[in-house]
Amino acid sequence: MLESMWVGLQLVISWKVMGLMIVATFIGNFFGAVPGLGGNLALALMIPFVFGMETFPGLAFLLAMHSVVHTGGSIPGILFAIPGTGPTVATIIDGYEMTKKGQAGQAMGAQLAASAFGGVVGALVLALFIPILRPIAMTFGSAEVFMLIVFGMTFIVVISRESIPKGFVAAFMGLLLSTVGLGAHTGIGRYTFGQLWLWDGINIVTIVLGIFAFAEILSLGAKGRKAKIAQVNIEMTWAQLWEGTLAVFKEWWLSVRTAIIGCFIGIIPGLGGDAATWICYGHAVQTSKNNENFGKGDIRGVIGVETANNSKEGGSLLPTLVFGIPGSSGMAILLGAFLILGIVPGPTMITDHLDMVWGMVWVMVIANLIGAVTLYPLSRYMGMLAFIRSSLLIPCIMVLASVGAYLIRGFWQDVILALAFGLLGYGFKRWKYPRAPLILGFILGELAEDYLHKSLGVYGFAFLKRPVVLILLAMVILSLGFTIYKSYQDKKKARGAVA
């Protein structure tokens, strides 16, 4: 274990990887700070850039970028009440109130330090779980993995709490797309329509670029060009930033608690960043003494949210790596990128590639520190990114997305396919279909079919009687039942409120 930890660190400490990580943290912060872009789009657009790279540098680049997206995302939220990413909305409650009171520096200092702290704790929890999960993962055969994938799919329902049928439709669309190409167990071309370029199936990047990048272009463009950069004057001194940073360590017990809670929420696939931040904000309010200032600019509100915001990424990497079940939509895209880089997530990750897993832990630790440190002098200017006009953003995203769609396999048809997925993604966005289940369905679909055929081949239908399979089946039923019941209760409440 210690040897793998050391080898993992050696993988990270090289000029090439460190340089890539610095670039990645800038890109991650940029995509986080511009509202409407976010981490998923950053990953989608940057995957083509890792094509020629060796496995670990490519991995470090993407993971570092993804780890810091929410660090940058909170800046426009604190300064202008414009959240850069979804989970950073909770930061606004107290962060923006602090800015209005002339305490933007303290809020920024606390946000950056808490983000770094949360990111490091998340990575440490991930590291802590590796030896615990190793023996569990080794007992899993094809039948157990299949049922685990089915269990992972039930989280589609959790992701789609707003409309469960829509979540299912999105997931089945993803599953359907995963069947395109030559069947691995039959050699029959499915939905290829005689097209050679479809024999290998559809690449995850084409789908992600369409569903996220092209759909965002359409969404941004349809709203019209935005107003010019606002003339804002935000006073922020180094002393204020330092004061905010120290507050994270003064409130160390709150920081540790919310970081750990955030990390555990990240482990549960599908719960997502919004849940982590809001739960931790609630926890901070409930457990703090003199909590009457929460919502009016209490620095503990910023700390509680921000530690959870970054720590959950460490947690969500755990099921992604060990079981191949993405903990979030960002992790689903990252999972696709892993496959492109030649890494096959699953139990073998911690049996055969433990040094690489440790390398990822180190990447998360270092990226979070770089991300926060570089933002100290830049935070005031990063906030201005929230006001970039769509007429300037759209051409950049459009060019990058189209080039990316082409470069995946060198087929021009993939560009057209990405456009088609863009229209589908825009439809999803327009009519409130969650997009993450489609990605989750696509990624898990191929694995599910593969393990289903393997399980049937080895055990026949008797694979359903294996003890671990039965436990997982019970968890599937409980998870589905509970979420559907909860959704029914919420709707009942909503109806009551409208009436």
Binding site: G52, V169, F172, L175, R190, Y191, R389, G427, W431
Partner: protein, 163 residues
Amino acid sequence: MKLKGNVVFNGILLMIFAVAFFISLKWPAKARMYPMLITTAGMCFSGFLVFMAITGKDAVREQKKASRKKAAKESGEAAKQVVTVQSELKMIFWLALFIAISLVMGFWVSMILYIPLFMRLYGKESWKTVGIFTAAIWVTIFIAFHVVMEVSLFGGVFNLGWD
């Protein structure tokens, strides 16, 4: 009767699942088992959504949406960002135009042609901004993909580019 957008969209999804289901009927049992399961379930859920949209059973959600819209309008912010079918179609046209130019002329030429066109006509940007942005995007792509990664971008029908 005016056809609602969500009915059309749900209908399209239902049609995709239905067509995929009928296509899979031609395959051997082992190859069609999994797609048939997926498409059948997909048809059930999308059919349910079409039914809900036609009968207006999701009225509660619509009502909530309407009250949110009203609140946003009152704040005066949303009025500037109203999405109309026309603006959506315009944006789809712009996106399709870029892809079409790229497929004919290749990425290198399409960037030079399309970006100024988009920024001037859609964004109403000044010539100075247009010039700087076009050059910046083109040079960034050139350095990143041609110089650093040494990959060749699609040259279009006329193969306009570097190999």
